[in-house]
Symmetry: C2
Subunit: 335 residues, 2 copies
C-alpha cells in the first residue's frame, strides 16, 4: 500500500512562478514584479540557489491594459490542438503568446518542460486559497497543498480537481511536468488587497521551501487530503431574447463557497425578487460562486464532490534511481 | 431661523433615474433594465403616475462591453466647457454621448432641465449606500437622504459633499436642477451582488416615494444631517520610473471607510512588507478606500471632514407661490 512505503520521484530542478496570465488579477502581477526586484538584489549578492525559479509575467499586454485578455483568454490556449494549430496574420495575440510561453516553459508533454508550474490567479469569489489541478494523484501537487495547509493555518485552503485529460488540458500550468493554479479570493479584478497579496506571497514562499526540502532528500510523510472534484456548472438564468442575466446569486449562497449546497437550497434571486432553488438530487460543494470573469463563459457557480484521498510518503530519487527507475515510477504515478 | 419656518420649494415634476453611466457597475444597469420591464407592464395597465420618471441607460456602448467607458470617463464630461466645446470626427464617444444626455435631461443650468437626477453607481470600496452631491445646502437632496436613512435602518447611509462650483461640476447628476449619485459598495465591477442590487432598488423606490410625498403637499420636518465634505486625496506610493504602485492599502485601513483616521495610523503596506503611516495633523474620515476605477486617476483614498448640517422643514410650493415667489426662493436656496 502507498502508505507503507516511500514513493521516490524525480527532482524538481526547475520551477516557474507565473503571474498576470489574466491581466487584471493583481496579486500575482505585483508578486512576480516584487520577486523580480528581490532577485535583482539577491543576484547582486551572488547567492546560490537550491532550485532554479523562473519568474514569468505571462500576458504583459493585458497587464499593461489591466484587462483579463486582449483578444482571447490566454489560460484556455494551452491545449495541444491550439499550441500546434495554424498561424496567420490574424492569429489572436494570446495564441501567439501561448506558443512563446510553451517554448519558454515546455514544450508541453516533453522531457524539456519545467518540473513545476505555479500560476497565480485571483477570483472575486470567496474561495480563500485554492490549488487547482488536473490530477487527483499528482503527489507533488498534493504534498505542496498539505505543506501549505500546515504552514498557513489562518487561511482556508482547498484542493480543486478538474477531471480533464492531459490532451484536453488548457491552462498555462499544464505546460509543466507538474502544475497547478494558485487561486485566491475574494478580490475584485483590477484591485489589490493587502491581505490577499500577503497570503499569496506566503503561499509561494512555502511552496518553494517545500521544493527545497524535497530536493534535499527529506521524506514528506503520507496522509489524507480532501479533494474537491468539479462535477457540474450552472449558468445564470437568462432572458431568452437578449441573453441578459435575469437573476443574481442568492444572498444566502453568495460568499458561501465550499459550504454544502442541499437540494431545495436557494440558488438565485431574480431581479424582480423571486427565489430559485437548487433542483439537484445530490448535496454538492459550490465554488467559484459569482466569479466576475465567468459571466461571459456562462458560469454562475461550479459544484464539486468531496473525496478523501490518501497520499503516500514521498522523497526525491537519488541520481542512481533517477537513471535506472524512471520508467517504473512513471507508471506508478499513473496508477 | 430655518428650523422655525417651512421652506417652500418648486415641485419635482420630472425625475431621471440613470444607470450604466459606468458600463461595468452592474446594480444600476440591471435595476434600470428591470424598471423598464416593469414600466412596460404598468403602461399596459394604463396606470397614472404622480411623478414623471425617465429611465436612462447612460453609456450603452460601455454597458455592452462591460467596461467603465469606451474612450473616456463619461462621468467627467458634463462641465459646461466640455458640453460646449468643439466637435470633430475624432471626438471621443463619451463626449458625443454627454451631449445627447444633456439634450435629453438638460440643458444643464436651464429652466428646461429635469428637476432631479439620480445617477446609480457601484464601488469596490466598503461604503454602504452614499448620496454624493455638489451641495451641502440642497434641501431636496438632504431630505431624500434623511428619508432613506429612516426607511433603510439596516443599510449604512452617508451623505458626501464634493465642494465643486456649479461651473466645474462634471458628473451626469449635475445636469438636473437637483441631483446626486447613489453610490453603493462593496461590489466588484462586472459583478452583481444580490444584496447590493436589493439595497439600490429599495433606495430608488424610497426616493421616488419621497418625491411623491413632497409633490402631494406634505411637510417634511427639518432636522440634522451629517455631511462628509471631501478635503483631501492620497495616491498610492509609486515607483518613480515605472509609475507602478509599490504598496497596497494597509490591511488595518482596508474596508474601514468612514472610520476616523488619526495621525500615525497605518495607511499603506508596501509589497515588501513595510507600513506607511498617515502623516496629516487632523483626524479625517477616509472613503473610496481602494476603489478599482481610481487607480488610473491616482486616488488610493479620499478624506473628508464631518459636519452636522441643520436642514429646514420643506414643502412644495402651491401653484400661486410658484409663480410669484420663484425669485425669492431661488435666492434663499443659495444662501
Amino acid at each position: 500500500m502507498a502508505s507503507m512505503h516511500v514513493v521516490c520521484l524525480p527532482r524538481l530542478s526547475r520551477v516557474a512562478v507565473c503571474g498576470g496570465t489574466h491581466g487584471n488579477e493583481m496579486s500575482g502581477i505585483y508578486l512576480v514584479k516584487e520577486l523580480l526586484k528581490a532577485r535583482k538584489k539577491v543576484m547582486e549578492d551572488e547567492e546560490e540557489k537550491p532550485v532554479s525559479v523562473m519568474l514569468v509575467l505571462s500576458n504583459p499586454r493585458a497587464v499593461q491594459q489591466c484587462r483579463r485578455y486582449i483578444d482571447t483568454d490566454l489560460n484556455r490556449c494551452f491545449t495541444h490542438a491550439t499550441l500546434s494549430g495554424p498561424m496567420s496574420d490574424t492569429t489572436p495575440y494570446e495564441i501567439i503568446r501561448s506558443r512563446e510561453l510553451n517554448t519558454m516553459l515546455g514544450p508541453k508533454g516533453s522531457p524539456g518542460a519545467v518540473d513545476l508550474v505555479c500560476d497565480l490567479h485571483n477570483t472575486t469569489a470567496n474561495m480563500g486559497l485554492c490549488l487547482i489541478s488536473y490530477s487527483d494523484c499528482d503527489w507533488i501537487c498534493l504534498h505542496i497543498f498539505r505543506h501549505l495547509q500546515r504552514q498557513m493555518p489562518d487561511v482556508p485552503l482547498r484542493y480543486i480537481h478538474f477531471d480533464v485529460s492531459n490532451k484536453e488540458s488548457y491552462s498555462l500550468d499544464s505546460v509543466g511536468k507538474h502544475g497547478f493554479a494558485m487561486e485566491i479570493g475574494p478580490q475584485p479584478h483590477g484591485v489589490v488587497r493587502s491581505n490577499v497579496y500577503t497570503a499569496m506571497k506566503a503561499g509561494v514562499q512555502h511552496m518553494l521551501d517545500w521544493v527545497s526540502f524535497f530536493n534535499s532528500g527529506n521524506v514528506s510523510e503520507g496522509g489524507f487530503v480532501d479533494v474537491f472534484t468539479m462535477v457540474k456548472r450552472f449558468d445564470y438564468p437568462r432572458d431568452s431574447e437578449t441573453h441578459d442575466i435575469t437573476a443574481a446569486v442568492h444572498p444566502q449562497l453568495q460568499d458561501r463557497d465550499f459550504c454544502l449546497l442541499h437540494p431545495e437550497d436557494p440558488l438565485f434571486q431574480t431581479f424582480s425578487g423571486e427565489t430559485l432553488r437548487y433542483k439537484g438530487k445530490e448535496p454538492l460543494y459550490p465554488f467559484f460562486i459569482n466569479e466576475c470573469a465567468y459571466y461571459e463563459k456562462g458560469i454562475a457557480l461550479s459544484l464539486a464532490r468531496k473525496r478523501r484521498v490518501m497520499i503516500p510518503a514521498i522523497r526525491v530519487q537519488t541520481e542512481q534511481e533517477e537513471q535506472s527507475n524512471e520508467q517504473r515510477f512513471t507508471s506508478e504515478e499513473e496508477e
